[in-house]
């Protein structure tokens, strides 16, 4: 964000918790305001502190990043009422996209393929049993108001459905704003395909290609790439056209990602809309040459998409991103601490986005993502080659990182062949 603002000549204010006092964003922003202690609830999730900081520094806009308050419709509303531009969709759109089965219904109306499932939230066990019988087991129960695996249960036969439905509803009620649960066909070995969307505030929408994010562990992405090695061109074209219409009809503005599941036949099924910029957006930036965060800021400033994109979107080559996490590559336990040695890789086709620096401390309070390593090449083979080179040159001492794990992924024959689904990691580790 600071990079995009510097490019645009916009001064920046970084808000930070005490744990991030010595972080790079605090150093490189034009101003920095401490908003609270390390605990997120009292700093990064504390709306009054953030708005207060915005007011005393007289900012024009807030970029919420990803995570924390980025998809909090209430926060977007407070910004609007306070006269501060929230860089993202409107509060109403954020709220609508947050109700999963409503988003499903809208997509279905516009011809975007969805998985067979219930019509909205399940109102009774009978309805659940009927729906499951109709679409065929196995089915998955999902929380309407949240994700991340909570309120989710896979049901293999009717006998287990009533019990699992109760469990899912209880878990959803405890974790999210509602206990509503809906039901979908369960695909056992799916690929995770997501489309990057960009829309201005004048009703113009563009789809900037897809990313394949199937390499995951416990619903956490480890590696993303574009284009997907498995997506057939005709499926891409068809879904892109329908999606463009649906997103326009929703009144969506700014950046977002639409998640799909690809079944064994290569068909796509809509899952949900993430109404924010995502971690893996650099993958799309690499293949399109478009600075997405800069585009977000310009959209929020009222500019038109045609001016921002400067012509039809061109896709060039192949890009891969590895999420370098501060964790033990075998046990996955988090590894916060001081970085005693650091060498960032470079060379042709390599980009590193990181908040790590020599002698810097990775605090234990937040996400373990330490760096995003992106490789771009003229084709997938070259991108893989460059990524391997970069991983070899990436030195981080003092903490554990997932670099050895990424090296292993890049060398797996199935990965190189493009044959993988979301169970890829599970096959050789828990």
């Amino acid at each position: 964000m600071i990079c995009a603002c510097k490019d645009l000549g916009i001064p920046t204010v970084a808000v930070y918790s005490e744990a991030d006092r010595h972080s790079l964003p605090v150093r490189f922003a034009d101003q920095a305001i401490c908003i609270g202690p390390a605990k997120s609830a009292r700093s990064y999730l504390d709306i009054p502190s953030i708005i207060s900081a915005a007011e005393i520094t007289h900012v024009d806009a807030i970029h919420p990043g990803y995570g924390f308050l980025s998809e909090n419709a209430g926060f977007a509303e407070v910004c609007r009422v306070s006269g501060i531009k929230f860089i993202g969709p409107t509060p109403e759109v954020i709220a609508a996209m947050g109700i999963k089965e409503r988003a499903r219904a809208i997509m279905q109306q516009h011809g975007v393929p969805i998985l067979p499932g219930s019509e909205g939230a399940l109102s009774s066990t009978e309805e659940a049993l009927e729906t499951a019988e109709r679409i065929g087991y196995p089915v998955i129960l999902k929380a309407s108001a949240g994700g991340g695996g909570r309120g989710m249960r896979v049901v293999n036969h009717p006998g287990e459905l009533p019990g699992l439905l109760t469990q899912a509803q209880q878990e959803a009620g405890a974790a999210f704003s509602s206990a509503d649960v809906y039901l979908e066909k369960y695909v056992g070995a799916p690929r995770h395909i997501e489309f990057q969307i960009l829309a201005d505030e004048h009703g113009n929408v563009e789809i900037l290609g897809e990313r394949d994010c199937s390499i995951q562990r416990r619903h956490q992405k480890l590696l993303e790439e574009s284009p997907s090695p498995a997506l057939r061109p005709e499926v891409r074209e068809r879904v892109t056209a329908k999606l463009r219409e649906a997103i326009r009809a929703i009144g969506y503005s700014n950046a977002g990602t639409v998640e799909f599941l690809m079944d064994e036949k290569g068909d796509l099924h809509f899952i949900e809309v993430n109404a924010r910029i995502q971690v893996e957006h650099p993958v799309t930036e690499a293949v399109t040459g478009i600075d997405l965060v800069k585009a977000q800021i310009r959209i929020a400033g009222g500019e038109k998409l045609a001016d921002i994109l400067g012509g039809p979107v061109q896709f060039r080559g192949h890009a891969i991103e590895c999420r370098i996490n501060a964790e033990n590559p075998e046990t996955f336990t988090p590894s916060p601490g001081r970085i005693t040695g650091l060498n960032l890789p470079g060379g042709v086709g390599i980009r590193v986005d990181t908040h790590a620096y020599q002698d810097g401390v990775i605090p234990p309070y937040y996400d373990s993502l330490v760096a995003k390593l992106i490789a771009h090449g003229r084709d997938r083979a070259e991108a893989i080659q460059r990524m391997k080179r970069a991983l070899d040159l990436f030195v981080v001492e003092g903490i554990h990182t997932s670099i050895p794990l990424h090296k292993r992924i890049l060398n797996e024959p199935d990965f190189v062949a493009g044959h993988f689904d979301t169970n890829f990691i599970k096959r050789w580790m828990p």
């Binding site: 001064p11 005490e18 010595h22 034009d30 101003q31 305001i33 401490c34 908003i35 609270g36 202690p37 700093s43 009054p48 502190s49 708005i51 207060s52 900081a53 007011e55 005393i56 520094t57 007289h58 306070s82 001081r338 401390v361």
Partner: protein, 158 residues
């Protein structure tokens, strides 16, 4: 700002052990920050001098004070306690422009005594002392924006 003036400011930072000094004169602004290792050692070096270019390039927040000094507790008299802001907002020394300040230098305060108001999102928050002692210093100015953890008053406990 001349090189001589900048050299003088560096000297002040080094001599007094002040952690961070920011001076604005007209369109010129200098910030000098002493770096402290995370081990807590207060043997720092003056290592960062930021002199933004001409006025057009540097942001000029309307409420930036002319001089803001932060004294790290380790460097000051051992017994002094700092009342710190628990929120982000704007510091006011009195309940209104027409009323006298809540506390004055030299005044004795007890826990619960209102020291100041910090305004946040149009709400006036009364900040109370949590120790008994004498107000020895006031570190912020009326109307100044303050961040979480910013030292407001130095209180010598009795």
């Amino acid at each position: 700002m001349t090189n001589e003036e900048i050299r003088e400011l560096i000297q002040i930072v080094t001599d007094t052990g002040v952690a961070e000094l920011e001076v604005q004169r007209g369109d010129n602004r200098v910030r000098i920050r002493r770096s402290f290792g995370l081990s807590g050692s207060d043997e720092g070096r003056v290592n960062e001098i930021l002199v933004p270019g001409p006025a057009g390039a540097s942001p000029a927040p309307a409420a930036a004070p002319a001089l803001k000094a932060e004294t790290p507790p380790a460097q000051s008299e051992p017994e002094l306690i700092y009342a710190k802001s628990p929120i982000v907002g704007t510091f006011y020394e009195a309940a209104s422009p027409d009323t006298p300040p809540f506390v004055r230098i030299g005044e004795h305060v007890t826990p619960g005594k209102i020291l100041c108001i910090i305004e946040s999102m149009k709400l006036m928050n009364e900040i109370e002392a949590d120790v008994a002692g004498i107000i020895e210093s006031k570190l912020v100015q009326n109307g100044q924006p303050v961040e979480y953890g910013e030292a407001l008053f130095g209180i010598r406990p009795v």
